[in-house]
C-alpha cells in the first residue's frame, strides 16, 4: 500500500488539491469533481456528493455493511478490514465483468480517507451540514475546515444524561436549536431522585436533543440495551450515501416525513418507495439498499442490532434477510 499524500500535499494539482493513491485506486479532485481511477476504469462524482459521502464513511468507521457513494463506487465493511469497490453492486459492471474490488485494513483506508477529506474540504464548507446551512465546496483549494470534518461521534454507554455518560446538548455547549426545529418544545422531564440513586434515575428530552443536532444524516448512539442501539439523527435533504444492509435495520420516524428509495442491494433494481410519517415504523431488509429524502429537517430514530454475529449468520442462511416473517 502506498499513501502518497498528507494534509499539506507535496504536489498539489492546478486546483491546489492533493492526489491520493491507495492500492490500485487513485483519487484526484478539481474544481467540480472527484475523479476515481482503478486498473480497469475511471469514474467521476460531483465534489459535493463525494465529500458528503466521504464524511459519513469516515465518521461512521465504514458503518454497517455497504456504503455506496453512488451506483458505482463505495466500501464494504468487514469490521477490521474493508473492501473498496467500483461497480461491484452495479448490474451492468458485473455482467460486463469490469467491476473491481480491493481489500484494505480498516486503519489504512481510514487514514487515506481522513487525509483526503481534510485536504479537499475548503474553508466555509461543512460536509455534515444541510446544503442551505453551509457554503459551497466548489472551486480551487481555499483553506480547510478541520473542526467540521473531525467532529466527535456521540456514543452513549447507557443513555444520554446518565451521570458520567454523554450529556444533553445546550446553547452553552455550542448546540443551539436548529432553524428547522425552532418550534420543538425544550422542556425537560421532572426527575425526582432519592439519595443514593442518582446513577440509576435518569431521563432527558430526546426531541430537544435531536433539535440541537448541528449535523444531518449522522446517527449517534443515545441508549444501549446490550447490543440494541438507539441511533437518532436529524435529517434534511438527501442521505449522502446509498446504504447497503448487511443486517436488518429499523427506522422509527419521530417527526415529519422521509421517503426512502429502496433498491436491490446487489443489482440496484428498484424494489419499493417507503413513505414514513411521524410514528411510522419500518424495517429495511438485509438484502436491500436505501437512500432517504427529507424535504424538511426531520427526526429519525435509526435502530440497530450491533451484534457482530449477524452478517455471517445471514451469509450462511441461518437467519432470514427479513426482520419478521409473518
Amino acid at each position: 500500500m502506498t499513501l502518497t499524500s498528507d494534509t499539506a500535499p507535496a504536489n498539489p494539482n492546478d486546483a491546489g488539491y492533493g492526489t491520493f493513491t491507495i492500492g490500485g485506486f487513485t483519487f484526484s479532485r478539481d474544481e467540480y469533481f472527484a475523479t476515481i481511477t482503478w486498473p480497469t476504469g475511471t469514474h467521476q462524482l460531483a465534489i459535493d456528493v463525494f465529500l458528503r459521502a466521504l464524511q459519513r464513511d469516515v465518521a461512521w468507521g465504514f458503518f454497517y455493511g455497504i456504503v455506496n457513494f453512488d451506483s458505482v463506487f463505495g466500501t464494504v465493511n468487514h469490521y477490521g478490514n474493508v473492501d473498496m469497490f467500483a461497480g461491484r453492486f452495479n448490474d451492468a459492471y458485473r455482467r460486463a465483468e469490469v467491476d473491481y474490488s480491493e481489500n484494505f485494513t480498516h486503519d489504512d483506508l481510514m487514514a487515506c480517507f481522513q487525509s483526503m477529506l481534510k485536504d479537499w474540504t475548503n474553508d466555509g464548507y461543512d460536509p455534515f451540514a444541510a446544503p442551505q446551512e453551509t457554503g459551497q465546496p466548489f472551486g480551487k483549494n481555499n483553506g480547510s475546515n478541520d473542526a467540521a470534518v473531525t467532529r466527535r461521534r456521540v456514543v452513549a454507554d447507557r443513555m444520554v444524561s446518565v451521570p458520567g455518560d454523554e450529556q444533553v446538548r445546550t446553547d452553552d455547549m455550542g448546540f443551539p436549536v436548529n432553524r428547522g426545529f425552532a418550534d420543538v418544545p425544550q422542556d425537560e422531564p421532572i426527575v425526582e431522585v432519592e439519595p443514593g440513586y442518582e446513577g440509576d434515575v435518569a431521563a432527558y428530552n430526546l426531541f430537544k436533543y435531536i433539535s440541537r443536532s448541528d449535523v444531518t444524516w449522522n446517527p449517534s448512539v443515545v441508549s444501549a440495551c446490550k447490543e440494541s442501539l438507539y441511533c437518532p439523527t436529524s435529517e434534511e435533504f438527501i442521505l449522502p450515501v446509498i446504504h447497503g444492509n448487511d443486517r436488518v435495520e429499523w427506522f422509527v420516524q419521530l417527526s415529519d416525513e422521509i421517503q426512502w428509495d429502496v433498491e436491490d442491494r446487489d443489482t440496484g433494481a428498484k424494489r419499493a418507495r417507503v413513505i414514513c410519517k411521524a410514528g411510522d415504523v419500518a424495517a429495511m431488509p438485509a438484502d436491500i439498499r436505501h437512500q432517504g429524502y427529507s424535504p424538511k429537517r426531520s427526526m429519525l430514530l435509526v435502530w440497530e442490532n450491533a451484534s457482530n454475529r449477524i452478517p455471517e449468520m445471514i451469509a450462511r442462511g441461518e437467519i432470514s434477510p427479513r426482520a419478521v416473517d409473518f
Partner: protein
C-alpha cells in the same frame, strides 16, 4: 420569512405513511404506526412494532396505573404521547435472573426502597435500570415506545398492525 412547523404524531392526530411497491412484498418492510398500534391496544399491552433477533421495540398504551415489573437489563421508555409518571423501586431481594431477557410482571408492590420518580412527556426518554422495578401511571392516555428484549409478555400481532397489501 415563515418558520417551520415540526409535525409530531399523537393518538388524536397521526397520518400513516405507506410502502409503495415496485417489485417486492410489502410484508418485507413490517410497516406499522406506533399511534395506530396504541389506539388498538389494551392498557399496558406490550405490542412489538420492531424486532431484530432477540431485541424488540414495544408500543405500550399507557392508561391508568400499570402493574409493577422488574427488568433484568436496562430498558428505555420513550414517551411518544401524553404524560407518563415512572415510579422506580429497588427491590430488597433479587427478583429476576440477571441473565434473563425482557421484564416480568410482579404481583402487587414488591418490598424494597423507592428510588425516585420521573414525570415524562412527549419526546422524553427514561432509563428503566437493570435489576430494578418500575411501574407507569398516566392520568389520561399516553404512548411509550420501549427499547427492550423479547420477554414473556411481548405480544406479536404483525398481520394486524402491518401493511400486507401493495
Amino acid at each position: 420569512m415563515a418558520g417551520y412547523t415540526t409535525v409530531f404524531g399523537s393518538l388524536d392526530n397521526y397520518e400513516k405513511g405507506r410502502v409503495i411497491i415496485v417489485d417486492d412484498d410489502p410484508k418485507a418492510y413490517v410497516f406499522s404506526n406506533i399511534f395506530e398500534v396504541a389506539s388498538m391496544s389494551k392498557p399496558y399491552e406490550k405490542v412489538a412494532v420492531g424486532k431484530n433477533l432477540e431485541y424488540v421495540l414495544e408500543t405500550i398504551r399507557c392508561e391508568g396505573t400499570s402493574e409493577w415489573r422488574v427488568t433484568p437489563h436496562d430498558e428505555f421508555a420513550l414517551v411518544m404521547d401524553g404524560t407518563v409518571v415512572v415510579e422506580l423501586l429497588d427491590p430488597s431481594g433479587q427478583l429476576v435472573d440477571p441473565d434473563a431477557n425482557g421484564s416480568i410482571g410482579l404481583d402487587g408492590e414488591p418490598a424494597g426502597t423507592r428510588m425516585g420518580r420521573i414525570t415524562a412527556s412527549r419526546g422524553h426518554q427514561a432509563l428503566l435500570p437493570a435489576g430494578k422495578c418500575y411501574r407507569f401511571h398516566c392520568d389520561a392516555v399516553g404512548v411509550i415506545l420501549l427499547q427492550t428484549i423479547e420477554g414473556p409478555d411481548t405480544i406479536y400481532r404483525w398481520a394486524e398492525i402491518c401493511q400486507t397489501e401493495a
